[in-house]
Every structure is written in C-alpha cells, then in structure tokens.
C-alpha cells in the first residue's frame, strides 16, 4: 500500500523542497566596524532625521557612494531628446562671439563627435 505524503496548505507553511517561485533576497554579509563616539552620535541624529535606523542609513550612504563611483567610471553620459538630428556638418556649428579660428575648429570637431554619441542615459 502506498502512502501519500500530506503537504501543508497553510499560507506561509509550504513544505520543504516545494518553495514557491518567490524572489529570494540577495545574501548579505554582516560587517562590524568601529567609529568614534562623536561621529556615531552625529550619524544617529542624521538617521533619526531621515526616519531610518542607523544601520539602514549607513548602508544607504555606502550605496550612494558606490553609485557615485560607478558614475565616475562612465566617461560621458549623453541624454538625447527625441527627434534631434543624429549628425551634423562642421559648417553648421555656430561660432562663439570673437572666437578664434583655431578655437572654432576645435569646437567644430567636438560638435561632430558629440553628435555621434548615442543616447546612453
């Protein structure tokens, strides 16, 4: 006689090995660090002002720093409005007031290059 294994059907009590397809949060590693009392107190005040725990505030500050560093790694971010042209001719470039021929030539070359950069924002 075969036996049927009974599975729990209560919400939140799924049987082992039968977990529903929920996204699992990324694993986190615990880091301990030391900070002087004054700075820790200041951070605590800022965290409370932002209605966060100190841990969450520090994590957010670190993520902001990482994002800034990643941004620094990107060389040029180009936003391109819809329906602007994709290329230009050097002679289309407007000359600045009293601009020397040399400076104007540099600006023309730069313009042609900038127009070749696709939207990467």
């Amino acid at each position: 006689m075969s036996q049927t294994r009974r599975h729990s059907t209560r919400p939140g009590h799924a049987a082992k090995g039968k977990q529903p397809n929920r996204p699992t949060p990324a694993a986190k590693v615990a880091i301990t660090f030391r900070l002087d009392t004054d700075r820790a107190a200041r951070l605590q005040v800022i965290a409370e002002a932002e209605n966060r725990s100190l841990t969450n505030y520090i994590e957010t500050a670190l993520l902001r720093d990482l994002a800034r560093r990643e941004e620094a790694d990107r060389v040029i971010t180009m936003y391109v409005a819809p329906a602007v042209s994709t290329s230009i001719h050097p002679e289309d470039v407007v000359r600045a007031e009293a601009e020397s021929d040399e400076d104007y030539a540099v600006r023309q070359a730069l313009a042609v290059e900038l127009w070749s950069i696709p939207d990467n924002a």
């Binding site: 990107r74 040029i76 180009m78 600045a96 601009e99 540099v106 070359a109 313009a111 900038l114 127009w115």
Partner: protein, 148 residues
C-alpha cells in the same frame, strides 16, 4: 542663444531621460542647426574623499559670482544633453535674454571646450580598447559584442 552661454534649461533626469526635467543652469557647449549640447551643472558639494571624474570643472564662488551665480558649482562636461532649442526645454527662450544668465569669458570657453575634447577623446580611446580586446579575443557569438 550662443555657445558659451549659461542658460536656464529643463534638463532630463535619469528617471525620465527623454523628457524635459528639472530646471537647471546648463552650459551651452555647442550650437548647430537649432539644436545644442548642454553640460549639466550642480551646486551639490562633491565628497572630499572622492576624486573628481575627468570632465568635471569646479567653478569656485568667486568665478561663480562673475557668472551671476550665487554659489560655487561643478560643471559636468561628462554629463551632456543634446536638445532642440525650443520652449519645451528652454522655458525662457522667448524672453529677450532667452534665459541666458551669463556668457563665459573667452578664456573659460576655450578651457571648457578643451576639457570636453579630452573627455570625448578618452571615451574614444576606451571604445578603441574595447574594439582591440574583441579582435584579440573574438567572442563565440556576435551577440557577445554588446559589452566590452
């Protein structure tokens, strides 16, 4: 509006990159055929322990005052927008001054143009390095060409 102008402009944001966004003061780097390339500026202080990316020029309070701005700011020649010169993007373009706050002195214009040229050159060099790597290590499938 002429190149070298600092102008009020609704620069796109990361959240809505194809739409007019927040009102900023931008620097008009190039103008051509009714369109322009504008560099972003920000008065947010840069963290002291983080090096400035190439293409970022600090304009101190003294120079900012000469440009009719109340405080020091960072000019981001590495963050640019290519925009049509229309009222949608330049809200004061129909005004007599077209929303222009100041015109950079010729020496500053030259410096900023050269800085932008250097950033563009660095980008080109990085692209070239990517291309060289692809030649040296050809990917198994053309789909792998999407990343360097």
């Amino acid at each position: 509006m002429q190149p070298g102008a600092f102008v009020r402009v609704l620069l796109p944001t990361r959240g809505k990159p194809r739409e007019p966004g927040l009102l900023h003061v931008g620097y008009v780097l190039v103008v051509a055929r009714g369109e322009c390339v504008v560099a972003y500026s920000t008065s947010q202080p840069w963290p002291s322990d983080t090096p400035l990316p190439s293409g970022v020029r600090l304009v101190d309070a003294q120079d900012a005052a000469r440009l009719n701005q109340s405080r020091a700011f960072l000019l981001r020649l590495d963050v640019l927008a290519r925009l049509p010169m229309t009222r949608d993007w330049f809200p004061d373009i129909d005004h007599p001054n077209q929303g222009v706050i100041a015109i950079a002195q010729p020496s500053l214009q030259t410096e900023l143009t050269r800085l932008a040229v250097n950033v563009a050159r660095r980008r080109r060099e990085l692209l070239q390095i990517c291309a060289d790597r692809r030649v040296l290590n050809p990917p198994a499938s053309p789909h792998h060409y999407t990343h360097c």
